[in-house]
C-alpha cells in the first residue's frame, strides 16, 4: 500500500515551492463579468438551431431572388430563330421516326449518323414508300439503288 509518511519531507518543500510560483490576481471586473453572463437570460431554443444553419439560409435568400430574375428573363426573351428552325438532321430523324412501320433497319440508321453533322451534309437516307423493302434491306446497302 501507499505510505504517505515517506513523501512528507519532499512534499513539504515541493508544496512550499509550488506556493511560491506566482499566479495572476483576479481583475477588478471579474465578478461583474461572471454575473453579467449568468444573469443574462439564455438564448431562445430556435436561435441555437439558427446559428449553425445561418450560412445555408443566407445562400437560400440570395439564390431565390436570383432564380426568380432568371426565370422571368427566360420567359420574356423571344425564342431565337435557330431554336425554332429544325436542322436537316432533325428533319431526317423526324421523318424516320414518323414512318408508319418503324423497323429495326430504320433504327439501324441512327448508328450511322455522325454525332455532329454540318448542315447540308446529312447522310443520305434511303426512303421508300414500300415498308416491305425497308424491312428487308439495310438503308446503307446500295445494291438495290444501283
Amino acid at each position: 500500500m501507499y505510505d504517505s509518511s515517506n513523501e512528507r519531507p519532499e512534499a513539504d518543500v515541493f508544496a512550499a515551492a509550488l506556493a511560491m510560483v506566482p499566479t495572476p490576481p483576479a481583475s477588478a471586473e471579474f465578478d461583474e463579468r461572471v454575473l453579467e453572463a449568468v444573469m443574462t437570460p439564455d438564448a431562445p431554443w430556435w436561435r441555437r438551431f439558427a446559428i449553425p444553419i445561418r450560412p445555408a439560409l443566407t445562400g437560400a435568400c440570395c439564390a431565390v431572388p436570383l432564380m426568380l430574375v432568371l426565370i422571368n428573363w427566360t420567359v420574356q426573351v423571344p425564342p431565337t430563330e435557330r431554336s425554332t428552325r429544325p436542322t436537316p438532321r432533325t428533319e431526317l430523324t423526324d421523318q424516320v421516326m414518323d414512318q408508319p412501320y418503324l423497323t429495326a433497319s430504320a433504327l439501324w440508321w441512327f448508328t450511322m449518323v455522325e454525332p455532329a453533322n454540318p448542315p447540308g451534309k446529312a447522310p443520305a437516307v434511303p426512303r421508300s414508300d414500300s415498308p416491305d423493302e425497308q424491312s428487308t434491306e439495310p438503308p446503307s446497302d446500295t445494291r438495290g439503288l444501283s
Binding site: P9, A15, A19, M20, P24, V34, L35
Partner: protein, 199 residues
C-alpha cells in the same frame, strides 16, 4: 538527498483546503434560486483558487482568468445539477480542470512540447528563487493532468479521494501521478544540486 523544510527560510505553508463553512449549503440553495448575493459569496470564496488552479494547470497565466470565469459561469448556470453530495469546491475545481484540459487538447499540446526543454537552474544564487525556477521547470515538464493532481494536492490541500473525484480517475491513479511528479522533482532537485557543486 534529504530535504528539511526548517532549512528553508522561504518556506511558505501551502494553503490548506477551504475550511468547512456550515452555511455554504444555504448559499448554494440561494444560488439555485438565482440570488446575486449568493453568486457573489461563492465568487468571493473560490475566485482566487479557481484562477490559481487554472494558471498552474495551463501554465499560461493570461488564460487562467478566462478559464476561471468560464468555469463560474458554467457552474452557476448548472448549479441545479449540483446535488450537494460533494463539496462545492470539488465541483468548481472539476469544471476548471475540464476546461483547462479541453483548451490544451484544442491547442494540441504545442505549449507542452515547447516548454519541455526548459533549462534547469544551476549555480549559486538565491536558494528560494532557484527552487521556484526548479519547480516551474518541473511543472512545464509534467502533463496537464499530472499538474492538476499535483496542484490539487500540494496547494489546494485536497484529499486523494477528492482529487480522484475532481479528475474522475481512481484513487490509485492519483497516488501514482503524485509519486511520479515527486520523483521527477527529486531527480531534478538532485541534478540541480550536483550542477551547483560542480561549478
Amino acid at each position: 538527498m534529504s530535504v528539511h523544510v526548517e532549512d528553508r527560510p522561504w518556506f511558505v505553508e501551502a494553503e490548506s483546503v477551504p475550511p468547512v463553512i456550515e452555511d455554504e449549503g444555504e448559499w448554494i440553495a440561494k444560488a439555485r434560486a438565482r440570488e446575486e448575493s449568493a453568486y457573489r459569496w461563492l465568487l468571493d470564496r473560490y475566485r482566487e483558487r479557481a484562477i490559481r488552479l487554472a494558471a498552474h494547470v495551463l501554465r499560461a497565466p493570461d488564460e487562467a482568468e478566462d478559464v476561471a470565469q468560464e468555469a463560474f459561469v458554467r457552474a452557476f448556470r448548472n448549479i441545479r445539477s449540483f446535488r450537494g453530495e460533494s463539496r462545492f469546491y470539488t465541483w468548481i475545481y472539476h469544471i476548471v480542470v475540464r476546461i483547462c484540459l479541453d483548451r490544451r487538447k484544442l491547442a494540441r499540446w504545442t505549449r507542452e512540447v515547447g516548454m519541455a526543454s526548459a533549462p534547469l537552474p544551476s549555480g549559486e544564487g538565491s536558494r528560494a528563487s532557484d527552487t521556484r525556477i526548479l519547480v516551474e521547470a518541473l511543472m512545464d515538464r509534467l502533463t496537464p493532468p499530472m499538474r492538476a493532481a499535483l496542484v490539487l494536492r500540494e496547494i489546494e490541500g485536497l484529499e486523494y479521494e477528492e482529487i480522484a473525484l475532481v479528475l474522475e480517475i481512481p484513487v490509485g491513479t492519483v497516488r501514482s501521478r503524485l509519486n511520479t511528479a515527486r520523483s521527477r522533482f527529486r531527480d531534478m532537485w538532485e541534478a540541480g544540486d550536483q550542477e551547483a557543486r560542480n561549478v
